[in-house]
């Protein structure tokens, strides 16, 4: 971390290099991690803290100094010194420590009886009380390899020790950024709704993420748009106070405008009565938006650095239900040339060539029948056609037509812009699903899940990263007029083919993870007695066992968000309890198996089940 000044302002130097692609392209000299204020993480975990002070002063604390300070603090706690020494964060080596990001923590008495911390921490504390060297145990845990972000968040949330909080606050910088960023909504919620100590501990990291925004598309945008209570105000303050050097408001202005205009389009579309008018307006508004591109703007749903260079506006479609507008969706004409046999080629010979009228007529009806892979365009549901086109094909087609398509780093991104809906609940659902996904990956349960990535932009709008190559089951059925099984047969071939079998297997895996079952789904799985259906039950059980094992990781996400939340899913106090019960911790694995059978049978009867009643999922898109 040679020169923090450089870290903070790479954006300036990168401005002159052209940015490429339909929503795309890293290619610049940007750091690959979203870090700019924090030090690059892979090496020894140093600590980075941003100060609030203005001026051109060093904004990052020397890692070693900070770490040392941390240890000092913990040591002091261990020695039960009631009054606190300097907090780790305030150990600046710059002279601007006055406006320190982290206030001197007040170390509290340990035997605070009201501490409502959940199991792990509580027991740790109990241990602490009887063990003179308890803090060093904790420190050992904190410094061990096993200590991961999930645990850190958990401690941050449940520990009341300012020292611990401050330590973890600093420690956040040393985790892989993607991992920490996953918890950004939680961090933010804690920052806003918990006491000052926690807030102060997290703040440097949040500011760091905010700064990193200057250079990349990291999920830090959350910071600017997450509309939790108070947040707009506090974050505005955060941005103004912390980074006068980065000239943040100015630099973020284009992005903010970009988001605003996307939202504005969505809102205006809502005033139009018909889908057709909406589509026209959408296309025309996006074409106007193109006048401002390329610009230093990005799609927050994308996981890599890029700049948006163009919106292929003619490819935008208005989605069903409410007013969502995705970009980068194509319509498909009959450009799938499966029959390129141009049977009628003109010949040079003078001999007359004869053709049978019957052949022409037959070819016509054959070809019309042969193109079922494209949905018939329905003016009331333009999205179906657009979504059906294979993604690769769409990318290729748009790339060909794009003036930026020749850049090697060109990428096509699509996004659903949703207005008029509070997406925060969906965001939470996304996090839960994502967590389950990583749990299953870790436990090697072959369940397939593809949560939508969601970025909340305001209380009633946001962006969703669409699943490419996916049509909703509803659309499949409506368009193809086939049962789901027949559709599978048509799309993937006969039931014995490799193609069909793997599609079927994938379908089972994804169904399991969605915990959704209808008679038609079962049909695709060879009926209620088929092998595939048994496979489904087995996966179900495996999935549940794995989820149960890591229950804390799931619960924690929800629990933190509960604080200060006005989301409808938290209405009533029973949400957490209800959620916990779903994991059936009290059951043995055998009992659990019985339960799964019951669940499956029950769901067959009631046709639709949702495991998490408390959440309203975007289930229709999960497969």
């Amino acid at each position: 971390m040679a020169d923090p000044q450089d870290d903070l302002s790479p954006a300036r130097s990168e401005q002159n290099s052209p940015s490429l692609s339909t929503c795309s392209s890293p290619s610049q000299s940007l750091p690959s991690t979203p870090s700019s204020c924090g030090p690059p993480h892979p090496a020894s975990p140093p600590l980075g803290v941003i100060s609030e002070g203005g001026g051109k002063l060093s904004l990052v604390i020397d890692a070693e100094v900070a770490q040392q300070a941390c240890q000092e603090v913990l040591q002091k706690v261990k020695l039960r010194q009631v009054d606190a020494g300097p907090a780790p964060g305030s150990q600046h080596n710059g002279p601007d420590r006055g406006a320190a990001a982290i206030k001197p923590p007040q170390i509290r008495e340990e035997d605070d009886p009201e501490g409502p911390a959940p199991g792990s921490v509580k027991s740790a504390r109990r241990r602490q009380r009887h063990n003179p060297s308890k803090q060093s145990w904790l420190l050992r845990l904190f410094e061990s390899k096993l200590f991961d972000v999930s645990m850190a968040i958990s401690y941050l949330h449940s520990s009341k020790e300012p020292g611990v909080q401050a330590y973890i606050g600093n420690r956040l910088f040393s985790f892989p950024h993607d991992d920490v960023d996953f918890y950004l909504p939680q961090l933010l919620n804690m920052y806003i709704h918990m006491d000052e100590d926690v807030g102060d501990a997290i703040k440097p990291y949040l500011v760091g993420v905010a700064c990193s925004q200057l250079t990349c598309s990291g999920p830090g945008c959350l910071l600017w748009w997450l509309p939790w209570r108070r947040s707009e105000f506090s974050l505005y303050r955060l941005s103004c106070v912390t980074c006068p050097v980065c000239l943040q408001p100015v630099r973020l202005a284009p992005q903010r405008e970009f988001m605003k205009s996307l939202m504005g389009i969505g809102k205006r579309l809502a005033t139009l009565p018909t889908k057709e008018q909406k589509t026209q307006r959408l296309i025309s508004e996006l074409s106007l938006l193109n006048h401002k591109l390329p610009a230093r703007v990005w799609l927050p749903t994308a996981a890599f650095d890029h700049h948006v260079v163009r919106v292929p506006h003619t490819q935008a479609v208005v989605l069903n239900s409410k007013d969502k507008l995705p970009e980068g969706h194509a319509n498909s004409c009959d450009n799938i040339s499966q029959f390129s046999v141009d049977s009628i080629t003109s010949l040079d010979s003078k001999e007359p060539v004869f053709i049978a009228a019957g052949d022409i007529r037959r070819r016509l009806s054959e070809q019309l029948a042969q193109a079922p892979t494209t949905f018939r365009r329905d003016p009331e549901d333009p999205s179906a056609v657009a979504l059906k086109e294979p993604w690769e094909e769409k990318v290729r087609r748009i790339r060909e037509g794009s003036p930026y398509g020749h850049f090697p780093t060109w990428r096509l991104l699509s996004v659903i812009v949703k207005c008029g809906d509070d997406l925060r609940q969906e965001l939470l659902a996304f996090q839960v699903l994502q967590q389950l996904k990583s749990i299953w990956e870790q436990e090697r349960v072959p369940l397939w899940i593809r949560p939508y990535k969601i970025v909340v932009l305001s209380a009633d709008s946001g962006m969703i990263e669409p699943v490419v190559n996916a049509v909703s089951i509803h659309q499949v059925k409506k368009q193809s007029q086939l049962s789901l099984l027949d559709y599978f047969l048509q799309e993937h071939g006969a039931p014995t083919t490799e193609n069909f079998l793997s599609a079927q297997r994938n379908f089972v895996r994804s169904c399991t993870s969605a915990f959704k079952l209808t008679a038609e789904f079962v049909e695709v799985m060879d009926g209620p007695d088929g092998d595939m259906f048994n496979y489904y039950r087995m996966l179900m059980l495996q999935g549940l066992i794995a989820a149960r094992k890591h229950m804390d990781r799931v619960l924690q996400i929800v629990e933190i968000m509960q604080q200060g939340s006005q989301l409808p899913c938290f209405h009533g106090s029973s949400t957490m309890r209800g959620l916990k019960e779903r994991f059936h911790m009290s059951l043995t694995e055998e009992q659990l198996q019985l339960l799964v059978d019951q669940l499956v049978d029950g769901s067959m009867r009631s046709l639709t089940t949702k495991l998490y009643d408390g959440f309203q999922y975007l289930t229709n898109g999960i497969m």
Binding site: S284, A316, A356, I360
Partner: protein, 689 residues
């Protein structure tokens, strides 16, 4: 404001009535037209001159009245005047600049007026002197360029453009205007582009800039390398091209709006029903009222952009919210009096509004749609020479569009759907189509509608053969694209087929009169080949299997027309005469249609006989058609999907020369009409400085 004008008017009148008392400026002009150097006695002569309000009429008439011998005498002084005009353009004092610009206007015009027959070189000599001409014109163009690109007042910019327009249109034939050679060398192309790319300047001067550009492009287009053509063809800056599109869009929209207003005026309540009842009796009268002066200059600009610039095609589909909402009458223009000298139509610039208007009834539109609407109006009546030219140009533009791959792609894009309400000619046998029920379809449907509409409405004695040829060729090009890309357009092809058959019928019944003037066999061949496209390649682009059956049904149903056509072309081709070859081509082209008729007619007759039905229903005929395909053999014809690409030279060169001439006259007229009202300008500058 109006009071001020009145006052000014009064003053002028009084001053002109007292003849002996001459304005000072007039006296100074007289000095210039004397032998002596006017600065000899008064060293500040030129400074003072440009402080005086220009008297254009006097100056021009003075120049015109100079006779041959005098020219030699006063040439030095005129050269000097020109020189000082150019120099005054660099003055800080805006009034001097204004006066210099106007004086230059008068100089160009006066000299040309006088020497209509004189060669361009003589004129240059008289204005600037041979030896200095190059330098003078270089200075002039540079000054104009910096005035146009700098942040000088809008009125000043407007005046610069007027001067340029005045210069460009000063001769009837633009290519004979030798001074333009200097405008070619010292390009102001970049300044024009800059005006177009900036939303605010585009709003005020866009119209003039576009017209100027269109004219400059046409200077010695076919004889030499015109740098404006080269430059225009390579512009790829999107905002600039969009800007040009917006200007064109607005001008065409304005026309459409005016037409609509007039139309509504003519259809007020009871009277409208009466007129439509009495119909043809008053049609001439109504026509006169309805004809809004066509805007050929704008159309020419659109043509040049589409024809020369590949990137402009995208602008055609660039959507703008419809601008033909009536401008609220209470919108005052406080900052600058809109175009004091302007030909610019009042316009509101969408791009100025970052927030689009929220009216849900607003129809989104684009340049292409507006153009199609415009074309539908213009094509309604082609009797007038101007309108005929406009209609022809519209069809030429459509030809270029239909040939362009990219344009075809968005024309056929399923995702770009619009309701395009074309104007349809009021005719006795059909009601005026209610505009509301037009479905939203890909844009190509509107183009096809327009072509069908044209075919149906122009079968008249004064047959516009040229327009028909273009129209059929446009359809052919679109079909070729659909065949190539296998696009199955959901279009009611039946309307096209019946329109085409009716056209053949018309050709047959007016054979003798038409043959006196035109080669009708060429047109017939094109029409028959359109059918051949459907017959042989229908499998690649027809939307349903049923539509192929319907094609056969339509041919069989109207077999008499094809029979008659065959008889006619056979007769002509067996005789010796000038049409022999043309007619025999049609005979060959008819082979498949005849095969279809000869195959199905007996089948249908026997079906009727077997089932004892005198009149078969459509469904029954279709049934017969469907069940008898297999025994029919067709002959493959070569080159059905080939077409000759559009090229301006040499075929269209004469048309464009004439067109540009007519545009020049029109622009000149409009510029001169307004250039005299200088008061507003002066008032503005007096308040600024």
């Amino acid at each position: 404001m109006s009071q001020v004008e009145k006052k000014a008017g009064l003053l002028r009148r009084t001053s002109s009535s007292k003849k002996p008392l001459k304005e000072k400026v007039v006296l100074m002009y007289d000095e210039i037209f004397a032998k002596e150097d006017p600065a000899k006695n008064n060293p500040r002569f030129w400074d003072e001159l440009f402080l005086m309000k220009v008297n254009l009429e006097y100056l021009e008439s003075k120049l015109e009245s100079v006779n041959g011998e005098e020219v030699q005498r006063i040439q030095d002084n005129i050269n000097s005047l020109f020189h000082h005009c150019v120099q005054a353009l660099g003055e800080e004092h805006q009034i001097k600049v204004v006066n210099a610009l106007q004086t230059l206007c008068a100089l160009f015009r006066g000299v040309h007026q006088k020497n209509k027959s004189a060669s361009g070189f003589d004129i240059i000599n008289m204005l600037m002197g041979f030896d200095k001409a190059e330098q003078r014109m270089k200075d002039l163009m540079e000054r104009l360029d910096s005035l146009l690109c700098g942040d000088s007042s809008e009125s000043l910019k407007s005046l610069c453009l007027k001067l340029l327009l005045c210069l460009v249109t000063v001769t009837d034939n633009i290519s004979q205007n030798t001074i333009l050679e200097y405008v070619m060398i010292n390009s102001i192309f970049e300044a024009i582009l800059q005006i177009l790319s900036d939303p605010s300047s585009r709003g005020q001067h866009g119209y003039d800039a576009v017209v100027l550009l269109a004219l400059l492009v046409n200077y010695r287009k076919y004889e030499s390398v015109n740098p404006y053509i080269v430059k225009l063809s390579i512009v790829d800056d999107e905002p600039t091209l969009d800007g040009m599109g917006v200007v064109l869009h607005q001008a065409l929209t304005e026309y459409n709006r005016q037409y609509k207003d007039k139309e509504e005026e003519n259809q007020g309540g009871f009277f409208s029903t009466l007129t439509s009842m009495v119909g043809s009796m008053f049609i001439a009268d109504v026509d006169e009222k309805l004809s809004v002066q066509t805007n050929e200059a704008i159309l020419l600009a659109l043509y040049e952009a589409v024809h020369l610039n590949r990137n402009f095609i995208t602008v055609l589909a660039q959507s703008h919210p419809e601008i033909d909402i009536p401008v609220s009458p209470s919108t005052p223009t406080p900052t600058t009096p809109t175009t004091p000298l302007g030909t610019t139509p009042p316009s509101l610039d969408v791009m100025n509004n970052p927030e689009l208007p929220l009216d849900p009834n607003l129809q989104t539109s684009n340049l292409l749609i507006t153009f199609l609407k415009y074309a539908s109006i213009v094509m309604q009546d082609t009797k007038d020479e101007h309108r005929l030219n406009s209609a022809r140009l519209c069809l030429i533009i459509l030809t270029c569009i239909a040939e362009d791959q990219y344009a075809d792609a968005f024309l056929h894009d399923d995702n770009i759907n619009f309701r395009v309400s074309l104007h349809r000619m009021p005719m006795r046998h059909r009601k005026k189509a209610p505009g509301k029920n037009i479905p939203s379809r890909p844009l190509v449907c509107a183009v096809l509608d327009l072509m069908v509409e044209f075919i149906v409405t122009h079968m008249m004695k004064d047959f516009p053969m040229d327009l028909y040829l273009r129209c059929i060729q446009i359809i052919h090009k679109l079909l070729c694209y659909q065949k190539k890309c296998r696009i199955r357009l959901h279009y009611t092809w039946r309307e096209l087929w019946s329109a085409l058959i009716n056209l053949l019928k018309f050709l047959l019944s007016n054979e003798t009169t038409l043959l006196a003037k035109y080669n009708i066999f060429h047109l017939a061949l094109l029409v028959v080949n359109l059918f051949n496209m459907f017959i042989t390649y229908g499998d690649t682009f027809l939307p349903t299997s049923n539509s192929y059956d319907e094609l056969y049904y339509e041919i069989v149903r109207m077999h008499q027309v094809f029979d008659n056509l065959y008889c006619m072309v056979l007769r002509v081709s067996t005789n010796t005469g000038q049409w022999k070859e043309a007619a025999s081509k049609v005979t060959h082209a008819l082979v498949n249609i005849r095969a279809i008729i000869n195959h199905f007619n007996p089948k249908i007759e026997s079906y009727a006989a077997v089932n004892h039905i005198s009149q078969l229903s459509e469904e029954q005929v279709l049934e017969v058609v469907r069940s008898n395909y297999d025994t029919l053999t067709l002959k493959l014809q070569d080159g059905l999907d080939q077409f000759e690409r559009y090229s301006e030279q040499p075929k269209e060169a004469a048309f464009f020369k004439e067109l540009v001439r007519s545009i020049s006259l029109n622009v000149r007229k409009n510029v001169s009409l307004n250039t005299l009202s200088q008061d507003v300008l002066l008032k503005e500058f007096s308040t600024i400085s």
